[in-house]
């Protein structure tokens, strides 16, 4: 704000001390990411060195005790769960925001928005628990065994829906009102206004929301661990049990030793890599480059 320079031009020695203290705090806060990556790499290095990167994709199976480290079933598990839940949550979340802004009477819009906020505050272990005791038996009744990719997709969709709904809500609120007045003056009906004017104007906010929810879907651990059955296999149908990268870490970290433990850190690195790519994409979009 008014701090136009980095150096306080102040003659007070306390100011210089304060500045150094604050710089120290910021340096620690900023260094945590580096520390995390450094420790992940350090722990993963032994297995990367004498097993190599390729074998994480070409080994016959994931049997760390016998020295087989194929991560692809878990990668597919993470991918399927992510794509499925994003496909469900995105339209529902955007329609929710549209509902709040353009369809609901004010008496409904306010409580509905509050409800989405509450949904965002419910912890993942509670979602997982509910999925385990309600959803899984329900799916099991339709098509055994019950713990499945489908259960994971449904739970993840509910969990990430508030993220996209709140982001979409914020970006719809930012659409300049003169656009809407223009549309009203042209006599455009509601959906035509939305499709032709509001969505294009809010595009970058909506895309950022999608990226944020994708990040949540990739990183979610507990809920998906509780409802997916955790069998290491590439799921071939929605009703197959499967395991994600995150669940794999949570399940095996307790007893993993040596190369096995290192292999879990490799999957941690893969997760951080995915998130870093998503953050970079969000950054790119928020600078408006999606239009060009």
């Amino acid at each position: 704000m008014t701090s136009s320079t980095n150096n306080t031009l102040s003659r007070w020695p306390t100011d210089r001390l304060l500045l150094w203290l604050l710089r120290g705090a910021a340096a620690i806060a900023g260094a945590i990411v580096l520390l995390i990556v450094a420790f992940l790499v350090m722990e993963a290095l032994p297995v990367l060195r004498h097993v190599g990167v390729a074998r994480f994709f070409t080994d016959p199976s994931w049997h760390p005790a016998e020295g087989f480290y194929n991560l692809t079933p878990m990668l597919w598990g993470t991918m399927f769960a992510m794509v499925g839940s994003v496909l469900i949550a995105t339209p529902l979340g955007i329609l929710s925001a549209v509902f709040c802004h353009y369809y609901a009477p004010p008496a409904i819009a306010r409580p509905y928005r509050r409800l989405i906020e509450l949904l965002a505050g419910i912890p993942s272990v509670v979602y997982g628990f509910w999925g385990l005791v309600v959803l899984v038996p329900l799916i099991g009744a339709i098509h055994p065994p019950g713990p499945s990719l489908l259960a994971g997709i449904v739970i993840l969709s509910i969990m990430i829906l508030p993220t996209i709904a709140l982001m979409a809500d914020a970006s719809l609120a930012n659409v300049p009102p003169q656009y809407l007045r223009g549309a009203a003056a042209l006599g455009l009906p509601r959906w035509a206004t939305l499709r032709g004017i509001v969505f294009p104007a809010a595009k970058s906010g909506l895309f950022t929301g999608v990226i944020l929810e994708t990040g949540r879907a990739v990183g979610e651990t507990m809920a998906i661990l509780m409802v997916c059955g955790n069998v290491v296999q590439t799921p071939h149908s929605l009703f197959d049990p499967m395991r994600t990268l995150t669940a794999n870490i949570a399940l095996e970290m307790a007893y993993a030793l040596g190369d096995h433990r290192a292999a879990l850190f490799v999957s941690g690195l893969v997760l951080v890599g995915m998130i870093a790519a998503l953050v970079a994409a969000a950054d790119w979009i928020s600078h408006g480059r999606i239009y060009g």
Binding site: A29, F99, L118, P123, W130, W191, M253, L271, V272
Partner: protein
């Protein structure tokens, strides 16, 4: 032609309206189902004894007394570390760096990435760094420190917003009076930025209480009453996870614990939005 198009468009409008309303109804129904289920099964089991008694028989019977204590201790450690660090960083970013400065940009970017890091990765990191490298073992201290890393980005972001919401006139007048920037900070800016700090604090507490994955390998599973910060302690969320996954017949107590967790979190969430809406607004307008 015009008529046909009009009818076509009317159909599309009707369809869109149907879709929008059904999406809203679907979301509301799911929410009510989830909350109703937990209320229905949890409420019958909730009592004062449940909140204070120690768990017995692997948690199937008894209460959650020691678990609440562990949760509070983990939270205390987390905030004790995260608040000074977070406020310091926020002050630096909001008051002492410009948007163009390299240090500020790097710090902000690194915090952006940090806020996206999956919680299980924090668990891995906490396990290696706090439990192994620093030798803290599976303990409340390790768990709290791991959570502190996790809530820092949220805390910093809203505290920074709190500082940015303070009118520039404050700083200019203080500078005109020849006050040192330290005095300005502690006597003018910090009090005025308290609402933003509180919002961040409440959001951070919410995130920390809800966390499970980062705690399994840092604070551990032990459900006894902790005697020191170096003891392992089980948080409420881990208790729910353990009861539902590893203990058969633990569902009743898991429901009651889930209800406690949800009620606490909803209370925290309401406080955060109330603070953000009322206090933050009023404070900045009237002061």
């Amino acid at each position: 032609m015009g008529k046909a198009r009009g009818r076509h468009r009317g159909g599309r409008e009707g369809l869109a309206t149907t879709f929008v309303w059904s999406a809203a109804v679907l979301v509301t129904a799911t929410f009510c189902w989830l909350l109703g289920d937990i209320l229905w099964h949890g409420l019958s089991h909730l009592s004062w004894t449940f909140l204070t008694a120690p768990p017995r028989n692997a948690g199937r019977e008894g209460g959650i007394g020691p678990i609440l204590v562990s949760t509070a201790l983990i939270l205390g450690v987390c905030l004790g570390v995260a608040v000074p660090l977070g406020v310091g960083t926020a002050v630096l970013l909001a008051e002492f760096t410009t948007d163009a400065s390299l240090f500020g940009r790097l710090t902000r970017r690194s915090l952006d990435v940090l806020s996206g890091v999956p919680s299980i990765v924090f668990g891995l990191f906490g396990n290696v760094f706090f439990c192994k490298t620093l030798g803290l073992g599976f303990s409340i201290l390790s768990g709290g420190l791991t959570l502190a890393c996790m809530v820092l980005p949220i805390l910093i972001r809203s505290t920074e917003e709190g500082f940015r919401a303070v009118p520039a006139g404050y700083r200019l007048s203080a500078a005109a009076l020849g006050l040192s920037r330290t005095t300005t900070l502690f006597h003018l800016l910090l009090p005025a930025a308290v609402p933003g700090l509180l919002v961040g604090l409440v959001l951070g507490v919410g995130r920390a209480i809800a966390e499970t994955a980062a705690l399994i390998f840092t604070s551990g599973y032990v459900d006894r009453m902790p005697e020191s910060l170096l003891d392992s302690g089980r948080s409420l969320s881990i208790h729910i996870f353990d009861l539902s996954m590893n203990v058969s017949g633990g569902d009743t107590n898991a429901y009651a614990s889930a209800l406690v967790l949800v009620v606490v979190l909803l209370a925290i969430n309401r406080t955060a939005s109330w603070l953000a809406e009322h206090w933050l607004h009023r404070r900045i307008v009237t002061v």
